[in-house]
Amino acid sequence: MIPRHQTVLFIVLLATAIIMGTVLWRQLDRAHQRLLQGQDSAPTQAPQVAPAEQATLFVANDADNSLLARPLTLPLPQNPEARGRAVLGKLLDLYAAPDATHPVPGGAASIAQVFMLPVHAAGASGPSPNTSGSNGGSKNSAPAGPQLAVVNLTSAFAASHPSGLETETLTVLSICATLHANLPSVAQVRFLVDGQPRATLAGHADLTRTYLAAEAVPTEGTHP
């Protein structure tokens, strides 16, 4: 038989422990909120400003199923992967504009990464998303020999892309032609979506094949 005073003491201690636990949990939550509110989200380093250069974008036009070369002055990094990402980002920004001749939502954020691989190495082992990306650790030296560019698109871009043979083909070809125009060493282009192979862009354009970049560039007065 447990004495009455011990029972009372046990209940008081249990109640005290529960109250202290609740108070501590609230204090922790408040401290976390204070930390989040006081966090300085401003960048600690100024972004590197690349020098403005002349770039050529091959802009698609749905009305006549054509690609039109459009020269633009853009700040372009020297690193080929970052450079590829920059020109493709600008191209997709044009497509996301309200008066676009080839309307596709998404803009520059649709290009997750652009990787460069030597063509012979890519042929031997296939493109790997584990190679150094455009965000760091890359070499700035110009690549020697033909390159395979692997364009990693976001799944949001693929999901929101209009469906159709013409529109999807124009998107793919304009990406290939723009890469080749600004990075002549790019001979082949492959596509991934969220780092994974995907059968088609939005039901039509084949994303499993390797595109020859030079063939995507239209000659004067011809359609792709």
Binding site: D62, P103, P162, S163, G164, E166, T167, A205, D206
Partner: protein
């Protein structure tokens, strides 16, 4: 002719007549020669059967693959409706029509090419619909394979089998383009990589209809999708009639 054949049968099949018993091995040889000559004559005298002109209609998508969305209607249904409509028009004009699907079923690209290649079609049309036409007037996009043309080989690689047929596909695309433009359609021509078409061993063209956006606030298009489909089907049927006569001309040469 039939009379000659009926006389020859008792001689060769029921045994030798008495006056031929000493001919030995020559009797079967005579029989074979006579039968061969009779069959040749029979073939010459029979009225020439018109060559079977096969058109393959491939309604793209289907089943799990709905394709795009055309103002509430899935592309797979639109394509199938066009296929059914065009099949009726072609059969009325004396074509033999083979389709890759007759209902809402999933058909793999390789299976579509298999059906086309087994049919030995003289024209293969892959039917699509697009959602990117921002204008109110309908447009038609015609695509052929982006494979580089090559010569005919006995054993063509599966994924690039269309390469040997690209030149004929270009000719077919040109004929479809003329007929659709004559019908008042806005037509664009292009090249693309479609796995089903790249494996076909026939003149193959992908036809994509972009019906256009509604013209007024009420949401009714300038011309309904069904009207556009009917116009396109009529133009395609007219083009294929011309293609058939052109194909016969080439075969005679």
């Amino acid at each position: 002719m039939n009379g000659r054949l009926s006389i020859s049968r008792p001689v060769c099949l029921t045994g030798r007549p008495r006056r031929m018993r000493n001919t030995g091995i020559l009797h079967p040889a005579f029989c074979i020669l006579f039968a061969a000559a009779a069959s040749t004559l029979a073939a010459q005298e029979q009225p020439a059967q018109p060559a079977r002109f096969v058109v393959l209609l491939d309604a793209a998508h289907g089943g799990d693959d709905a394709g795009g969305n055309l103002s509430g209607q899935p592309e797979k249904s639109y394509n199938l409706a066009l296929s059914v409509r065009l099949r009726s028009l072609l059969m009325a004009r004396g074509f033999a029509v083979v389709t890759t699907r007759e209902s809402d079923t999933t058909v793999a690209p390789d299976r579509r090419a298999e059906i086309a290649n087994h049919a030995e079609a003289q024209a293969c049309l892959s039917l699509h619909a697009a959602t990117n036409n921002m204008g109110s007037s309908p447009a038609v996009h015609i695509f052929i394979s982006s494979l580089a043309p090559t010569g005919t080989t006995r054993l063509a690689p599966w994924k690039t089998a269309q390469a040997a047929w690209v030149e004929r596909s270009v000719a077919l695309a040109g004929m479809l383009n003329s007929a659709l433009a004559h019908a008042g359609m806005t037509v664009t021509l292009g090249r693309t990589g479609l796995p089903a078409i790249d494996s076909m061993t026939c003149p193959a063209v992908a036809v994509e209809i972009a019906p256009g956006k509604p013209a007024d606030a009420s949401g009714s298009p300038a011309s309904s999708e069904s009207d556009v489909q009917a116009q396109v089907a009529e133009a395609l049927a007219a083009a294929l009639v011309e293609w058939r006569s052109d194909d016969k001309g080439i075969q005679k040469q």
